[in-house]
């Protein structure tokens, strides 16, 4: 089993736990997900010398789960920013135009009828 495989596995584990902390809050160590992930990585460390194939499997599954957690969190934040409550109608017209990169026209001297 190569060192680089072990390093990437550790990094994947650390990133998953970071994601769980970001999404669960302070009590994340007591959550089901945390305990299960730590369990799986510990078990894998014991068997890693014997089965390289299962190490690859675990790495792929871990990176898939990491991608799932990260992308769900980012998708949710983008949704809240652009499609959620208070993201379009409650903002003024000027802010919404700014969101899509446009600016409202300005007229020096004001409009004629004001």
């Amino acid at each position: 089993m190569s060192v680089s495989l072990r390093v990437t596995t550790l990094r994947a584990c650390r990133d998953i736990l970071k994601e769980l902390r970001a999404v669960k809050g302070p009590g994340y160590r007591r959550s089901l997900g945390y305990r299960y992930v730590m369990d799986q990585f510990r078990k894998n460390q014991i068997t890693s010398e014997k089965l390289c194939r299962s190490q690859q499997d675990l790495l792929h599954q871990a990176s898939s789960y990491l991608c799932l957690l990260q992308s769900t969190r980012l998708h949710l934040s983008l949704h809240a920013e652009y499609h959620g409550e208070g993201s379009t109608r409650e903002k003024g017209l000027r802010d919404v135009a700014g969101m899509v990169g446009l600016a409202l026209p300005t007229q020096p001297g004001g409009k004629g009828w004001e």
Binding site: V23, L32, I46, T47, S64, L68, T72, L76, L78
Partner: protein, 309 residues
Amino acid sequence: MLRNVLRLYNSLPVGCCPLITIQTQTRQLLECRRTYSSATSERKKFYQDVSISQGEGGVLEINLDRRKLKTPGGKLFTVPNEALAVTVATEWDVQRDTLKFYTMHMTTLCNTALDNPTQRNKDQMIAASLKYLETDTICYRVEEPPGLVQLQKNEWDPVMDWIEKRYNVVIGSSSNIMGPTIPEETKDTFRQHLASYNFWALTGLEYVITQLKSVILSFGLIDQHLTVEKAVQLSRLEEEFQIHQWGNVEWAHEYDLQELRSRTAAGTLFVHLSSESATMKRKFLQDLEFPLPRKPTIKTPLLSKHSHH
């Protein structure tokens, strides 16, 4: 909806009383829509804790406070192994205030596998999945602009070579509107390979194929040749090319990218965790961790001092 009612009516055997049957069929259709419409509206979070418990026959169930989770079809929500149960429980656990069902992809996949709302069997699902092969993203090449042609050659050709070698098939690519003609042996090989997956894994695999719009990329993902991010990037190659040239629009491009990534990742994880090998590997790892006990030694009786041999 009236068309559906009429279609149902036309398929009923002759001799049924028409008026009463239409009413019951309409009521059933409305009820079916009501159970599934809960997926679109937002509900407040009505529980504090999420836990997993063992059910009958070795399956696992999800508990929200005291209540057991059910599918939209009304069945009890059960999963075959612990890994799936933990991912589903985590999805429910991380919800705050309101339940956002559109982020709970693993739960949705389990619901689809359990309810089977389109009432299909394995063969129909395999046929539906393989239909995407004829219009596979990787097979469709453009002729201009030259930057995109080169990009497609550099990025998609290695994947095409990999799958042709791995499964010993011929697929090929084309740049005309009809696409490549896939030989029948190729389809048979893939059909045989897909038949080895169980129903849950096939549900996940079909989901991944519909998201990526490519059978070849999905096989690359399932066989662990590609990561999720790489497969999504290859599926969106032309969009990435345009973004590179014209800029990234966060509220459209980034949003679509993250949504596609989350769905594809969920589908891939679902296939891997639903396959038989996941349960077998777990048993194998457990055996290695707890070694088998030694056989007890049988004490032989001491030879007496007064033996006469």
